[in-house]
Amino acid sequence: MGLSRRDFLKTAAGSGLALASNLNPAPVLARELVPRLPDALGILYDATLCIGCKACMAACKKYNHLPPELSTPNSLWDDPLDLSAKTVNIIKLYKNGTGLAKDQEINGFSFVRRFCMHCVDPSCVSACPVSALTKDPKSGLVRYNKDNCIGCRYCQVACPYNIPKFQWDQAFPQIVKCQLCDHLIAKGGYSACCEFCPTGASIFGNVQDLRKEARRRLSLKPGEFADYPLQRVDSQHTTRRQVTPYLNHVFGEREGGGTQVLMLANVPFDKLGLPLLPPESQASQSETLYHTLYKGMIVPYVVLGGLFYLIYKNTTGHDLP
């Protein structure tokens, strides 16, 4: 017994050392933060320009062949209450007090558009066990492939914005989410929501251009007149309007490792229903911990070897009654 215990301690210490040596240089092993892709595509949504007409919602349903959600008693209009497997883009309203002043936190209101943020380092892609959710290596768009999906819904657990939706009423269900109209982009077009936005509240484009445009808007002085591009960030069509105040925050520049959808507003984003995320993505937190434990399967093999050695000694060294 004594001998075996000593052997056990020896093996345990050996495994422990191997484990420790693997854990120790944690910052070196930590998965690098994902950089933004140079040709990444995205959308800039500016709540101060949004008039809540929901043209983007109608266009989204039409071009993505999604069914209406009839939530009113007379079932006349497509009137979804939240994102769902039938609605991947929605305009919501924030209201406070009298709710009279546009884009004001107190006694005001603000629109906010919710759809997939197309994260720089998406949790759903990290979580998906079968690569049904992937990030395009060029455009960075986060796409869903039903042919791989096993319907485990870990993407729903992982997404900090609760974007992927599941067809709960189907015997053969799918995950449904915004893919930024990649089927239109493939044919030289762009996201339907931006094409049909009448005020330039949603504009499509290269994420670097969108970031510059967002920064330009934040540098404008409230009260002066400025040009705002319509539909696309590189568009020749612009609209001239009086600048209203902005919160000095481009949502999506850093949140959760950054997103390819950027947002501007004058009401704090947590009031608009967006989570305040740390700059490190959840995917990198999870993968850093996971790959630290399983790097090259070294630790499991060392533990297995130690166990085998111990058990072999314990079983063969043991006398029969």
Partner: protein, 404 residues
């Protein structure tokens, strides 16, 4: 007292040696015998039937028809109870194997078989629950294709590892099954071969639960802000692993006491006392690290409302076995051993519910409580598990033989 004789590596085993092995084994384990179809068995069968009918309905009409799952709470009791708690309750085989094979404590060998048996059913039916829960089950094979599997996904580790462990558990159970047919030459030969492979099987059988029980905790890291800081920590894998081992000890004691009562057999009090002390020490380690982590992160332990209540209940349940088992006198009292085991099982189960459902809040406005049909399916699975257990202990040499 070992069932396995590794040193006899020769292939042709004499009849006398075989008979001796058989007698030795019968000395250690014996079928309980008796009627299989009893009143409790019929009640279980009725529950199982209702469960199976509802399962068929789920496949015909989708998950929404039988569950209260939603886009906010995509995982419900099938994952939390059937998989998380179910496999932790199935950790008896794992926990006892660590003691017997790794720590060379052969005094616990008599309970190995019943512990492995509960593990076999706990894990096999968790596998069944996963197939009920995943929406696109026909794509399940994609997990095994190198060009689709995503090794960044914690769920891959969990799924492959649980799958592999179910196979290992059935292999571990095989000698028990083979022993029922002492006259069959092939059964005897298979047993002999398995016994030579014991060190490998036992080592893999300890490694795999260590991996996936910890990874079950790692699953929630990616949920980030959706999980309350009372549970969201980078130590999740460590807490899940340690509580799975303590639950493994608890379920072994719990099952031993209950089957002694049910089949009117003598209790294994002294051994269960020692087993429970191992459990209490590990629980103490768990609690110290758990609270050190909360302190370091300055988690809002008392200011999270309902979550604080659940947190306190959870940790009081953890404390019960520690307090009960520090005193040597109480350790010899079967009632306190039973109480400690039950408290430990509740603590570990509540911890799993807290970390996956109760402490999980995707965004204000979402709620989840399981639907009646959802609960009935889980009860059906538990009923199938218990029926299989009854069948095996009555027909196969699983429970320790009574010594006069």
């Amino acid at each position: 007292m070992t069932e396995f004789d590794i040193s006899t590596g020769n292939k042709t085993v004499s009849k006398a040696a075989l008979a001796a092995a058989q007698a030795r084994s019968l000395h250690e384990w014996r079928p309980v015998g008796g009627n299989l179809v009893t009143k409790p068995f019929l009640v279980l069968a009725a529950l199982a039937l209702v469960g199976v009918i509802l399962m068929l309905y789920r496949y015909a009409s989708g998950l929404g028809a039988v569950t209260n799952l939603s886009d906010g709470y995509p995982w419900g009791i099938w994952i939390t109870y059937d998989v998380l708690v179910g496999t932790a309750l199935g950790c008896g085989g794992y926990a006892v194997a660590i003691l017997v094979y790794a720590f060379n404590r052969w005094e616990y060998h008599p309970v190995v078989r019943s512990a492995v048996l509960t593990s076999v059913f706990g894990y096999s039916l968790a596998g069944l629950a996963i197939f009920l829960d995943i929406g696109r089950y026909w794509n399940g094979y994609k997990l095994f294709l190198p060009w689709t599997v995503n090794f960044n996904s914690v769920l891959v580790e969990v799924a492959l590892c649980i799958g592999a462990y179910v196979v290992v558990l059935w292999i571990e159970l095989l000698p028990t099954l083979m022993e029922r047919y002492p006259g069959n030459a092939r059964a005897v030969a298979t047993r002999q071969r398995l016994e030579r492979w014991l060190p490998v099987i036992a080592a893999v059988g300890i490694l795999l639960p260590t991996m996936h029980q910890s990874s079950l905790g790692t699953l929630m890291i990616i949920a980030g802000h959706k999980l309350s800081p009372l549970w969201q920590t980078h130590l999740l894998p460590f807490f899940f692993l340690l509580s799975a081992i303590t639950m493994g000890f608890a379920v072994t004691a719990f099952e031993s006491i209950l089957s002694s009562l049910a089949f009117k057999r003598p209790f294994e009090t002294p051994m269960l006392g020692r087993l429970s002390v191992c459990m209490a020490w590990l629980t103490l380690v768990y609690l110290v690290i758990r609270f050190a982590d909360l302190l370091l992160r300055q988690a809002p332990v008392f200011t999270s409302g309902f979550l604080s209540v659940m947190f306190i209940v959870e940790n009081l349940l953890y404390l019960v076995p520690v307090l009960l088992l520090v005193s040597p006198g109480l350790r010899q009292d079967l009632r306190f051993l039973f109480l400690a085991a039950v408290s430990m099982l509740l603590a570990g189960s509540l911890y799993r519910f807290d970390a996956f459902l109760i402490g999980y809040n995707p965004w204000p406005g979402w709620h989840y409580f399981p639907a009646p049909a959802e609960i009935m399916i889980t009860l059906g699975i538990v009923a199938i598990e218990l029926m299989a257990y009854l069948y095996f202990v009555k027909r196969f040499p699983v429970l320790p033989a009574e010594h006069a």
